[in-house]
């Protein structure tokens, strides 16, 4: 497998290099290319030195501003110049998506190829087909099917299937109700199957309420309820929300469950989160957001996160901002205080930014009670149109690293026609 990913990495790196070398294509109506070539230098926790070169490449071709056929590609590859063991057997590249799309009237959209489906509670990468359309002014549907990408590392792809969809009923801009379904099988046996209900409704005074519930057919229980409201008031926006998660029903997706969640899937825990975000854009020139999240559990003590953040455009070209937050869990190990300060300075030839994040833990982690992260970045908009060069240095001191410097450089290029 490493050879295969190595080839992917080389292919994307070569393709990125080609984009730079070739320059604007001679015939390129409806072409969007975005290339980010990144170089990092760091030392990992085991002392391995790494100098990976990344190429993140996006290409969109065809009818991009109108209905018709288009092709969309996005992926990345990595080549570690240090050739040390920092990355082990981790994949050195990935085609994130690569699909052809056809759009027509009545919001009809057909996608064929590798794609992500974020619809009606689904959050899946799929090699297959997806169709979206309105079937009347009151009804719409999404249907998808194919081979899931996520479980390919579990016993190969034979017998892996993913299919589902959403059927929606909406009345103009008043409400939108949806019923969704997803079925995921690994090696022919069901790993994940859920039915989802989602809805949104517009109420008087600009108030909106939306949410969704997921019912796991695999474990026969409600997996998640998530509901929120958007309330405009006094020139501000208040977003109260409610979320309830049953660990077994949400996290037990068979072989499709990622490592950290397997233990949680075996617990009877259920968490309920109540909270609100309050956005206050009218506080003079300062943009303020207040956040309060309170978590309650069936089996453990509750926890609350409270934070306030500000963004202050000091001058036309200078933004300052920060956040102060406090996590107050049931015991000391679940408590910390977070302070972040940042700056963004727009310059005639580019920009400069600075970022500082400090966290203090109520209970030591590996004998340390705090983390400090400092970051500085400079960006230069070169005379070549849409060609940006960026350099960055990070310093970190935390429970995992006594003192750690990391360097980063990027060349970003966008071509549109």
């Amino acid at each position: 497998m490493p050879k295969r990913w190595g080839a992917t990495a080389l292919a994307f790196t070569a393709l990125g290099a080609f984009v730079f070398a070739a320059g604007p294509p001679a015939r390129a109506a409806g072409v969007h290319l975005a290339s980010s070539t990144l170089v990092r230098a760091f030392e990992d926790r085991d002392g391995n030195r790494a100098t990976p070169v990344y190429e993140y490449l996006q290409a969109d071709l065809g009818e991009l501003d109108d209905r018709g056929v288009s092709v969309h590609l996005y992926g990345w590859g990595r080549l570690d110049l240090a050739d040390d063991d920092a990355f082990g057997d981790r994949a050195a590249g990935e085609a994130v998506y690569a699909y052809a799309q056809y759009t027509a009237g009545n919001n009809l959209m057909v996608r064929l190829g590798r794609q992500y489906v974020f619809q009606g509670g689904a959050n899946e990468s799929l090699d297959g087909v997806r169709v979206d359309a309105d079937v009347s002014p009151l009804f719409s549907f999404t249907a998808y099917g194919g081979v899931p990408v996520a479980v390919e590392e579990v016993d190969g792809r034979s017998g892996d299937t993913l299919w589902g969809g959403r059927f929606g009923h909406h009345s103009g801009d008043r409400y939108d109700l949806g019923l969704s379904y997803k079925h995921l099988a690994n090696d022919g046996s069901r790993d994940d199957e859920f039915v989802g209900l989602d809805g949104s409704v517009s109420l008087p005074a600009g108030i909106g309420v939306s949410g969704r519930s997921l019912y796991s057919l695999a474990t026969d229980g409600w997996a998640e309820h998530a509901y929120e409201a958007d309330v405009p008031a006094w020139g501000t926006r208040i977003r109260p929300f409610f979320q309830q998660v049953s660990y077994e029903d949400r996290f037990d997706t068979g072989e499709n469950t990622g490592g950290p969640f397997r233990a949680l899937a075996g617990s009877d825990e259920r968490s309920t989160t109540l909270g609100a975000d309050w956005w206050i854009p009218a506080a003079g020139p300062v943009d303020v957001t207040v956040r309060l999240h309170h978590n309650r559990y069936d089996e453990r003590s509750s926890a609350t996160y409270a934070a306030g953040s500000v963004r202050w455009p000091v001058a036309k070209a200078l933004d300052l901002g920060g956040e102060l937050g406090r996590m107050n869990g049931g015991d000391d190990r679940d408590r910390y205080t977070l302070l972040r300060l940042f700056a963004y300075w727009e310059l005639p030839f580019g920009y400069a930014t600075a970022d500082a994040v400090y966290a203090r833990y109520d209970e030591d982690v590996f004998g340390e009670d705090a983390s400090l992260f400092l970051s500085a970045t400079g960006g230069w908009r070169t005379p070549v149109e849409n060609l940006l060069v960026e350099v960055n240095a990070d310093y970190g001191s935390d429970p995992y690293f006594d003192s750690n410097l990391r360097a980063f450089a990027a060349v970003r290029y966008v071509y549109d026609r």
Binding site: A91, V96, Q119, V154, E224, D230, P232, T253, N295, S375
Partner: protein, 159 residues
């Protein structure tokens, strides 16, 4: 019965249903979103309802206002219902910058100059995730819940 038989019939049924629905779609007209936002937007997070009626024209545009709460999480429900509205301005790479099974670098590492953006996991999140994950693992699960997406978790948590 071999595992492939139900797959075949399920696939055939899905194609048939999709064909009927697409046929229905061809027979009516409803509010249609354009393929792309017709006007170039000012830099910075757009507040859609500044220009559009907040709840008019077939779309509740106020749901897509790029407020701090929207960036921090409220976009999830809106995109899950009307992804086509997001597609007016964004290609899927916008979503996949954060939500993808395998992009290796966290958003704030790939874009360290994006200090004004609501990137999760800034700074030493390796330590903070121990606490945040215990307090509310559901957001972690959304992006790291499957074997491929949890590759970065594997060195400590195992498979």
């Amino acid at each position: 019965m071999t595992p492939k038989r139900p797959l075949f019939w399920s696939g055939l049924a899905a194609v048939a249903v999709a064909a009927v629905l697409v046929g229905c779609a061809a027979l009516h007209s409803s509010y249609e979103l354009p393929a792309a936002h017709p006007d170039e937007l000012e830099p910075g997070p757009p507040v859609c309802s500044d220009c559009h009626e907040p709840d008019g024209g077939g779309v509740v545009y106020a749901r897509f206002d790029h407020t701090p709460a929207f960036a921090a999480g409220a976009h999830r429900l809106a995109a899950g219902q009307r992804e086509a509205v997001c597609s007016l301005c964004h290609q899927p790479s916008m979503c996949n910058g954060c939500h993808a099974d395998a992009v290796e670098l966290k958003p704030s590492t790939r874009d360290p100059g994006g200090t004004r953006r609501a990137y999760p996991h800034r700074g030493d999140y390796l330590t903070r995730h121990r606490i945040d994950g215990r307090v509310d693992p559901a957001p972690c699960f959304r992006c790291h819940g499957n074997p491929k997406a949890s590759a970065s978790c594997r060195p400590c948590h195992g498979r």
